[in-house]
């Protein structure tokens, strides 16, 4: 697919893009050993990998996993990385699509000690770096960061929230996370702990099918209202990261524009599906 960016360049200005900027490690093929597997939600697993020769990764990057069958047939899919930093420990969280080829294997079949081929780290745009130049406004001020996650789309955003906390970064961070039911929250304990530990990180959950008992609003497609109520106002010029299924991202991004957010401040990662 081709891709839209949000960078302002104008064809009529004949703008020449700047030289490549690369602040993230270079991608390569690596052998990963599965060191832990953990049920994340009723449909998802968390895989902890130790990746031989991994150069570290920035929060928000992804990798490709390549599976090879005995007859040489291969299948490759992309997965966001829930961890960041120089460590060779890499955390993934994979949601099982019932008819999928790769995700049921990763969720149900993979066990501790297995080896996987991975290529990465990949992606240099959907990333957040503490105090990085990427979060500065044109005037050089640090801009608040709004994260909007749908389902497994929380994976790279969780990495950002964790990197933010680990760096003691004071940039205001807010995450709006849409899930089907309370059982479907990825990194639930970690997210609650991050929200409890720091005034600079705030978590808002939206339930689309079933809420916890006593929740003030009914479940359903209340994303639009939640978005209007919970995201950092457009006037504060937040940098917004949206991640989830294609349908979720399309919907949220178009609502954000209606709410007055600048298209150039919205970065998106689409996982596929609708």
């Amino acid at each position: 697919m081709s891709d839209a960016s949000s960078l302002a360049t104008d064809a009529s200005e004949a703008a020449t893009p700047a030289a490549p900027v690369r602040t993230v490690p270079r991608a390569g093929w690596h052998t990963a050993t599965v060191v832990a597997v953990h049920r994340e939600t009723p449909t998802a697993s968390r895989l902890e990998l130790d990746v031989d020769g991994w150069p570290g990764n920035a929060a928000g990057q992804h990798l490709d996993v390549r599976l090879t069958a005995p007859d040489g047939y291969t299948a490759t899919r992309s997965y966001s990385i829930a961890s960041s930093g120089p460590s060779s420990r890499v955390v993934l969280a994979v949601d099982k699509l019932p008819d999928g080829e790769v995700s049921p294997f990763l969720v149900d079949e993979v066990r501790t000690g297995d080896l996987l081929e991975v290529h990465g780290p990949l992606g240099a745009f959907f990333v957040w770096e503490p105090d990085g130049r990427r979060s500065l406004s044109p005037a050089g001020r640090v801009r608040p960061v709004q994260l909007v996650a749908g389902g497994s789309g929380v994976v790279p955003l969780f990495a950002m929230a964790q990197a933010h906390a680990a760096a003691d970064d004071l940039t205001p961070f807010r995450m709006l996370y849409s899930v089907r039911t309370p059982d479907d929250v990825y990194f639930a304990d970690e997210l609650m702990a991050l929200a409890a530990a720091s005034d600079a990180f705030r978590l808002d959950l939206v339930y689309t099918r079933r809420t916890p008992d006593g929740w003030p609003t009914p479940p359903g497609r209340i994303m639009r209202e939640a978005l209007a109520a919970a995201v950092i106002p457009a006037a504060d010029r937040p940098l917004v990261y949206v991640c989830g299924s294609t349908g979720f991202v399309e919907q949220v991004a178009s609502w954000l524009i209606e709410l007055g957010h600048d298209a150039q401040s919205i970065r998106t990662e689409r996982f596929g599906g609708t």
């Binding site: 960016s5 299948a75 919205i266 689409r270």
Partner: protein, 196 residues
Amino acid sequence: MSFITRGFSGRSRERDDRLPPGQTLVHDFPVLSAGPTPEIDTAEWEFTIRTETGVHRWNWDEFMALKIDDVDTDIHCVTHWSKLGTSWRGVSLDTLFEEVETEQEYVMAHSYGGYTTNVPLDELLDGKAWVAFEFDGEPLDPEHGGPARLLVPHLYFWKSAKWVRGLVMMDQDEPGFWEQNGYHLHGDPWKEERYW
């Protein structure tokens, strides 16, 4: 360094030779974009080609009056999906460049919304590229790049700039948006030119 993955058998053995390495056949039409989908009105749409000597412009009506090709082709996205036998309608870049004189050999495609991607000119001529405005008999959806996108099917699909608004000729190859963000300068799916 490839090795067999314990316990993996894969879904299907039908390996179509139209599928480049590392690609999976899909029947829907996934979307990859770095930002929101822009809405562009054809009344305001214009397409330009800028060269060392000046700018060529077409508005929507002028564009629709050009020779229109039917294109049947396979498309390959760097995120590992391919779609076979897709049908498009659009204007060949050969048609557009009939009116354009240039010595410059490289092209930066620019899109509404700010996206850019680089392609050498000779990879856009000789029936290899179009500005497409119909997919499967329907006007192209905004999500997929409507009203018009570049269609360069022999390269990974990020080169087929959605919401295209113009081409700027350059003396040297320069990285566009995804290319600056780690994607390959060229992007041939048969050579798996995904990242650099």
